[in-house]
């Protein structure tokens, strides 16, 4: 690991100003992605600004027809939250299935979506549930947030403060995990919210999460699982690596969509 300066921010303003006055500052959340990246010398920030001391970034609240999760809320906290479990059980289940217990004890929703790993789970939930990503200076619809491989709409130094999820009528996530890493080889979140059906796919494409209109049309308002299973997805542009061929991933998209639809009931 290259050397860096470290500071613990005590408020959102403090974090944003510490990052912007640094030569090349990075926010540090759970560190479950950033620390391995630093160890491999794939990044060399001059400063790490630790967000873990900012209490108003942590926690879950429900208001009207949505649930808001602070960016520093860990996967374990989302998985065990009574609010998330009762309002959006699919989201609690997704969080409880990320990585392993130690990753869930430290990894955060903000870190996961800022990182936008093409095989991460949360991006699928954000897109399928039509979430809004709230930063220190604006609100970004999930549809515009995830822009490509490890790329997001965040500007340099922009801090994610929370994510707001509209409560769906029905939703479920089905993931075919890589047996070693637990990241998704393919994961599909399906949701029906206020008359709209959405299906978001992670793991399959190397440009990250995407909505599949073919799956959405097949699912229809009733989340028809057998219709989803019958959809033939093109392998063009899908990941092809030692874990799975693009044809296999294409096949898994329909299967996972169908399993998610069955689970959503």
């Amino acid at each position: 690991m290259y050397d860096f300066k470290y500071q613990l921010a005590n408020s959102q303003d403090d974090a944003v100003s510490a990052q912007s006055s640094a030569e090349d500052g990075s926010f540090l959340a759970g560190g479950m992605t950033l620390i391995p990246t630093l160890k491999q010398r794939l990044a060399q920030p001059s400063d790490l600004v630790d967000l873990s001391g900012i209490s108003d970034l942590i926690g879950v609240s429900a208001e009207g027809d949505s649930v808001t999760i602070g960016s520093m809320t860990t996967h374990a906290e989302v998985a065990s939250s009574e609010i998330v479990s009762s309002k959006i059980p699919a989201l609690a289940a997704l969080a409880g299935n990320i990585g392993d217990p130690q990753v869930r004890n430290r990894g955060t929703i903000g870190g996961s979506i800022a990182n936008n790993d093409p095989a991460a789970d949360y991006p699928a939930a954000c897109v399928a549930l039509n979430a809004t990503i709230i930063t220190n200076n604006r609100k970004i619809p999930a549809d515009n947030f995830f822009t490509g491989l490890f790329e997001t709409a965040l500007e340099d130094g922009e801090l994610i403060t929370a994510v707001t999820f509209p409560i769906p009528d029905k939703a479920a996530y089905a993931k075919f995990p890589n047996p070693a890493s637990r990241y998704a080889i393919v994961g599909v979140m399906v949701a029906h919210t206020g008359g709209e059906t959405r299906a978001a796919v992670t793991g399959a494409s190397d440009s990250g999460v995407f909505r599949s209109s073919e799956i959405e049309n097949a699912l229809g308002d009733n989340l028809d699982s057998s219709a989803a299973k019958a959809v033939s997805i093109s392998a063009d542009g899908l990941n092809n690596d030692i874990h799975a061929s693009s044809e296999y991933r294409a096949h898994l998209v329909s299967i996972m969509a169908s399993r998610a639809a069955t689970a959503a009931g």
Partner: protein
């Protein structure tokens, strides 16, 4: 260099460290607590699992400075004199180890499981061990040990 202070196995410690010092490095090299192992150094194997404020964490994927003000416990802090912690005793009784390299992380992880789920099923134990790898045992006796340890911790 920044100064980091924390409680390790009930004792206050304070040292100057480079910010890039990993928690596991700090425990092993500064404090001499070599019971916490480094297996993979890539966040996969769980040999380095300790508790930070009561929750299991991979100490190879945490900076020592991130543990500022925390209560850290390691495998060395479990036994009470010559009396092993019930989970350690269960590993011994059930032959839950062969070479023993993964064992400290397994035991620390297992205790966190029992804290969140006091009566785990075999399935719960196997799921929970997702982040702990063992190259020797085939896991069977580890699972048996944890089920026995969970019972003993209740008793």
């Amino acid at each position: 260099m920044p100064t980091v202070s924390m409680t390790v196995n009930g004792e206050s410690v304070s040292s100057e460290v480079e910010p890039r010092t990993l928690l596991v490095q700090y425990l092993r090299e500064n404090l001499g607590l070599t019971g916490t192992h480094v297996g993979c150094d890539t966040s996969q194997c769980g040999a380095c699992v300790v508790h930070v404020n009561g929750k299991s964490a991979k100490s190879c994927t945490m900076l020592a400075v991130q543990a500022e003000g925390s209560e850290v416990s390691t495998i060395e802090g479990l036994a009470d004199g010559d009396t092993l912690h019930p989970m350690q005793e269960a590993f011994r009784e059930n032959h839950g180890l062969q070479c023993g390299f993964c064992t400290p992380g397994m035991v620390m992880s297992a205790i966190d499981l029992v804290q969140t789920n006091s009566d785990p099923s075999e399935h719960d134990v196997r799921e929970w061990l997702e982040g702990n790898l063992c190259r020797c045992t085939g896991y069977h006796n580890i699972v048996k040990s944890i089920l026995a340890g969970a019972k003993a911790m209740q008793g």
